[in-house]
């Protein structure tokens, strides 16, 4: 084996070894690297019940209730299979609205997710306003799953 060939194998060995180690590590971390749980994971008890965590889903149409005179809001989050009620007091991001994907951080208290932070998630699609309007006219609003 020439020295050059040996060095080539060394480089390939480094790439393969590190790649394999990362693959194993990523597999081991699995869902711990996920940013949020979805409502179904919460419903099946896969989300931590005693610790704070993030929940992500779509704000159910018609579920948003604001308490007059305060920043308190309540709504439900859905992934179209399960629904989790959420309550939050504070400022909401501009993109927050019914039908929007959002991510809330907080903890479960008696079946209600009490959030201390609400972030809006948007999808990777960009559309001019007039196109979005005519698309809405042509079909009933399909939920954009986050």
């Amino acid at each position: 084996m020439t020295p050059r060939r040996k060095r080539l194998y060394t480089v390939l060995g480094i790439l393969g070894g590190v790649g394999l180690a990362t693959l194993v590590a990523v597999k081991a971390f699995d869902n711990n690297l996920s940013y949020f749980y979805d409502p179904s994971q919460v419903a099946t008890g896969k989300a931590p019940g005693d610790k704070s965590f993030r929940i992500g889903g779509m704000v159910t149409q018609g579920s948003l209730k604001r308490t007059p005179g305060s920043l308190e809001v309540s709504f439900t989050l859905t992934d179209f299979a399960n629904t989790v009620p959420v309550s939050y007091t504070g400022l909401l991001p501009d993109l927050f609205r019914e039908g929007q994907g959002i991510i809330a951080h907080g903890r479960l208290q008696g079946g209600v997710f009490v959030a201390d932070e609400v972030l809006a998630k948007h999808d990777e699609k960009y559309t001019p306003p007039e196109v979005a309007k005519s698309m809405k006219k042509m079909q009933p609003p399909a939920g954009d799953k986050t």
Binding site: R4, I14, G19, T22, L33, F36, P93, I103, E117, Y126
Partner: protein, 250 residues
């Protein structure tokens, strides 16, 4: 074999430092001018001609800086790591020089990506920063670049700096697919890819072309900067060579 020598003459010629130094110098305007034209066109197309997004309004226009910079932050790393591998295997000093020259450029693109993304995140998501997989892996990319540069500067001997930093560059390659697929493999706050996705780009042509033109412009910008920086690397490596003294005297 005789035919091979003829075919590869240009390559061996390119690997000679004086020749390479000259060629790289001559290439600079050929990269810099298209870079300027393309980036100006992309900026005008993105900020003026493209329509606003229906939900993000004008804030979505940060994409025309954020996404080309993000692509280049990855492309730069792949160039750096490939050059480092070539340098390790074939012991080509110029390849190491190119890798060393690319690192600060890549680090700059990564920083631009992170800052532009942060400025975009605050009005849309509601936060400057969060530890989701995409944001975290891109931050690790910045640390890889900085670590590579720090490791190089820790050696007095250039040959040892080249080899040690090349290994670090190779190890870091694993982060590149992680960044790209982070939004696919895990739930994340960051949205998925708009352009490189199944079913084609998720934006109309009038929004897409300034983005692609910008990406091309940033690529030319990288090439121009790499030519400038790699000449500096050649000067350091060849500081005692006779061709430099001749160049100086001329």
């Amino acid at each position: 074999m005789g035919k091979d020598v003829g075919t590869w003459t240009w390559f061996h010629k390119l690997a000679s430092p004086p020749h390479f130094y000259r060629i790289a110098g001559r290439m600079i305007p050929w990269f810099a001018v298209p870079a300027a034209i393309l980036i100006v066109a992309s900026t005008y197309g993105g900020l003026v001609m493209a329509p606003a997004d229906y939900q993000q309004k004008d804030a979505f226009r940060i994409i025309y800086v954020h996404v080309p910079a993000a692509w280049l932050s990855l492309m730069c790393y792949m160039t750096m790591a490939s050059a480092a591998a070539v340098g390790l295997i074939w012991r080509i000093k110029l390849a190491h020089a190119l890798a060393a020259a690319s690192a600060p450029i890549g680090a700059s693109f990564t920083l631009v990506t992170l800052v532009a993304g942060s400025l975009w995140g605050k009005p849309m998501w509601g936060t400057w920063w969060t530890w989701d997989a995409r944001l975290t892996s891109e931050l690790i990319l910045l640390f890889l670049y900085l670590g590579y540069m720090a490791l190089r500067s820790a050696f007095d001997d250039l040959t040892r700096a080249d080899r040690a930093s090349a290994v670090l560059a190779l190890v870091g390659v694993v982060n590149v697919p992680i960044i790209h697929f982070s939004v696919v493999w895990w739930n994340s706050l960051h949205q998925g890819s708009t352009v490189l996705r199944k079913g084609g780009p998720a934006m109309p042509a009038e929004m897409l072309w300034p983005l692609l033109v910008g990406a091309l412009g940033y690529t030319f910008l990288y090439a121009a900067l790499a030519c400038i920086r790699v000449r500096g690397e050649v000067l350091i490596r060849e500081r005692n060579a006779s061709w430099l003294k001749e160049l100086e005297a001329a």
